[in-house]
């Protein structure tokens, strides 16, 4: 088993599949009367959050607690972090506290890589800058697999602000590892200029939809408009928003995903977000199972 989960690139196909299979067992256990499992009793998991993300923190916290780990939340607010203590000094503190795993969310790309050099425990990337968010990609893959039965050969369109999206980066890596075909869709300003050759790129959402099994809509921040990535929210939404007419262009079986939080009316119409094809609520539930699987596999053995 790997020691850290810093990037989806840390996972080969066998390890990624093991995580998804383990998550499925965890999900099966979630419905029971007693939700706590004793596997990580005596282990300490620290949630080190430099960015506000209640959803992700709660998801990791629930996962760690269901496995009976001790959880310490170390958030930027009201701690020494906000007083300008360096990441290295914080790492040494966590080390002294005996953290077996540190779940880190940080606005700087690569912060988990730095942290892993300074602590002995496992480091789990819960989102770093515009780099990656590997557990999001795992829960997305889990959701696709449970809805569509497979990942190999799936045609996945990732639509929107690919340039700044850590979700997109992790999904591209993981889905490629697991044999899915990814097409990136968005305005050219929001697609990176240099991409690995195997990736498909399209600037035309309508032409991609009929050949997609999965459409993953990315959150688009309106600040991008001020920075001239696109002229207006209206134009963006007309060209790249998923509305009801576009939904009908998808094959019957196709699903619609969104990592949240959504800008309803911008990249996704409310009717689409609430349609039976949308997996948005499932994604949240699956997040806990997937994170339980990750924590168990990183910390459950010697």
């Amino acid at each position: 088993m790997i020691k850290h989960l810093r990037s989806a690139a840390d996972l080969d196909a066998a390890t990624a599949t093991l995580i998804l299979d383990t998550a499925a067992e965890m999900a099966a256990l979630a419905g029971r009367e007693v939700k706590k499992l004793p596997a990580l009793r005596g282990r300490t998991v620290v949630n080190l959050f430099y960015e506000d993300s209640t959803r992700t923190r709660i998801s990791f916290e629930a996962a760690a607690k269901r496995l009976s780990a001790d959880v310490i939340n170390f958030s930027a607010k009201g701690s020494s972090v906000s007083k300008g203590e360096s990441l290295k000094d914080t790492a040494l503190t966590l080390q002294a506290m005996g953290a077996d795993a540190v779940v880190i969310r940080h606005s700087a790309s690569g912060a988990p890589h730095r942290l892993a050099e300074w602590v002995d425990g496992s480091v789990v990337n819960a989102g770093d800058g515009t780099h990656e968010h590997p557990t999001q990609a795992l829960l997305d893959a889990y959701t696709m697999r449970s809805r569509l039965g497979r990942l190999e050969g799936l045609r996945v369109a990732i639509v929107g602000d690919v340039l700044h999206s850590r979700v997109a980066r992790s999904n591209v890596l993981l889905l490629s590892t697991l044999g899915a075909q990814v097409t990136l869709v968005g305005p050219p300003t929001l697609i990176p200029v240099d991409l690995p050759e195997k990736l498909q790129v399209s600037y035309d959402l309508d032409s991609v939809l009929p050949d997609s099994d999965v459409v993953m809509m990315l959150r688009v921040q309106t600040e991008r408009m001020q920075d001239s990535y696109f002229p207006s929210a209206r134009e963006y939404s007309r060209r790249y928003g998923l509305d009801v007419p576009r939904l009908t262009k998808l094959p019957e079986h196709a699903i619609v995903m969104h990592p949240g939080p959504m800008n309803r009316g911008m990249e996704i119409a409310p009717e689409v977000a609430d349609s039976p094809r949308s997996t948005i609520v499932e994604q949240v539930a699956n997040g806990v199972s997937v994170r339980m699987a990750v924590l168990y596999l990183l910390l459950g053995g010697k």
Partner: protein, 186 residues
């Protein structure tokens, strides 16, 4: 516990038809002790306890026409030796559709040794429901208990040395039925 080396000498204890006869015997014992296996469920402990539980259910059905619900109970997350080994993959936990509350649950495992697996299984079971009673069926009891645990149904007692190990193979998992004693024959 020291494991014998892979190339250690070994001896076959049970094979093919012998193993089937042992399963038949356990099935008969269960019918006898549980007055016809009513109100009973079988829970196999992965990996090889699960096919054994299914075989027992099939034999009971064949002998008496009683349908006994079967499930599986993975104990990995409840083991007390998780940290001593590399991370283990999880097995499946699948209760019978009606659950286990109020039933007599018979845990099925391949080998009874220290008793720690059974203890973990009892812990797992208590998080899953409230059976009226719990019994234990094993294909092989090789002794060396570390806990006050005994089996209600034993296919075969095999006295062993601690340096030896017992390996059970079943057709569903391994492609053949066989019980082998490994090591310690010099």
């Amino acid at each position: 516990m020291a494991q014998p080396r892979a190339d250690a000498p070994s001896k076959i204890i049970l094979e093919g038809a012998d193993l089937s006869r042992v399963v038949d015997r356990i099935a008969h014992q269960i019918l006898e002790k549980t007055s016809g296996a009513t109100g009973t469920a079988l829970l196999g402990i992965p990996t090889r306890g699960v096919p054994l539980a299914h075989r027992l259910a099939a034999r009971i059905q064949a002998f008496e026409g009683v349908e006994v619900p079967v499930g599986s109970l993975d104990i990995t997350l409840y083991r007390d030796d998780l940290r001593l080994q590399a991370t283990r993959a999880l097995g499946r936990t699948e209760l019978p559709p009606g659950g286990i509350d109020g039933l007599r649950v018979i845990l099925v495992d391949d080998v009874l040794f220290s008793g720690r697996s059974v203890r973990a299984a009892l812990d797992a079971l208590k998080d899953l429901g409230r059976p009226s009673s719990v019994q234990l069926a094993v294909l092989v009891d090789r002794g060396h208990r570390q806990l006050p645990i005994r089996a209600d149904y034993v296919g075969k007692n095999i006295p062993t040395a601690l340096s030896e190990s017992v390996r059970v193979a079943v057709t569903e998992v391994d492609g053949a039925d066989e019980v082998r004693l490994i090591g310690g024959l010099q």
